[in-house]
Symmetry: C2
Subunit: 150 residues, 2 copies
DNA sequence: GTTTTTATTGAGATAAAGTCTCAATTAAGA
DNA sequence: TCTTAATTGAGACTTTATCTCAATAAAAAC
């Protein structure tokens, strides 16, 4: 049994919540995907396999996975929300290409460190963070006009 | 005439777009506010003054302001989107309290620097970025139970 | 293993957020 | 002032997300 499944079951037990096949399916599906998925994509794909799956369950489960730190919400340049698993607690952030939509993952100890110092200064207890850099990836930078922002 | 108004008019002219009273009202309203505002809040308040204002115009203008770098989108812990002006191009990021919703602004040269190095490594042309730290502010940290995430 | 308790689910209504169309309007250059 | 073209608002519509509640199923109690 893999790590985040174990962590998930633990979390549920701690909180007095129940595990269900739907929850595990959603977590597993997120885990298998290398892309970022929107709630709607998750819903549509998983309902093909289990036609009785409800849309509300997907939203509820994504929130739950967020709450226990197993999934991360990524806000794309156009404001759209997508999710990914935080595999084995391995944290990373994103550079998002405003032109082709590609997401490049990165890890920056320097950023994490700077953040820790900041938080201390403000008496702020950090739970998690999100660092999104918007711009143009190498491929798109070589050609093409103005991007879409905000 | 203040700086971002001037910048806005410049941008419109450059792009061959037209200025309108609605656009200036929205920009001014954002500029006067010390809080983060949702599109709906902006719409409701400005329509009290001009009952003919349309909702679509607010969304269109927010996108436009984002495009020209005068407004920034902030994604709150619950996934809700809000906006603020980027006053005089002065960039800052946020620590968001998952308990009381308070937003603390900060500037971190260390983060900006680390980011620049990263981008260079990936051949990524940075246009803007967003760094959101979620956690509990000093006030809320002293008391109260589990937060809402994702 | 069976019963009891209680969280979870799905359907569908509903709400909230955002986009689109198109005729009427208005800004800006000629 | 005239002309051109971008912008607007109304409202339909789409998408995204939440809520309600009876039925279901997981976990605990027995």
């Amino acid at each position: 049994m893999n790590d985040h499944l174990k962590a998930f079951r633990n979390y549920l037990k701690e909180q007095g919540l129940k595990n269900t096949s739907q929850r595990e399916e959603i977590l597993a599906f997120l885990g298998r995907s290398s892309r970022h998925l929107s709630p709607e994509e998750i819903f549509r794909e998983l309902r093909r396999r289990d036609p009785r799956l409800g849309r509300a369950t997907v939203f509820r489960t994504l929130r739950l996975l967020g709450d226990c730190g197993l999934a991360t919400r990524v806000t794309f340049p156009d404001g759209k929300q997508k999710f990914e698993t935080r595999l084995g607690g391995h944290h990373h952030d994103h550079m998002l290409c405003v032109h082709c939509g590609r997401a490049i993952e990165f890890v920056s100890p320097a950023v994490e460190e700077a953040q820790k110092r900041l938080a201390r200064r403000y008496g702020f207890k950090v739970l998690w963070h999100r660092h999104e850099i918007f711009g143009r990836c190498r491929r798109c930078e070589t050609a093409g006009p103005s991007p879409r922002r905000s």
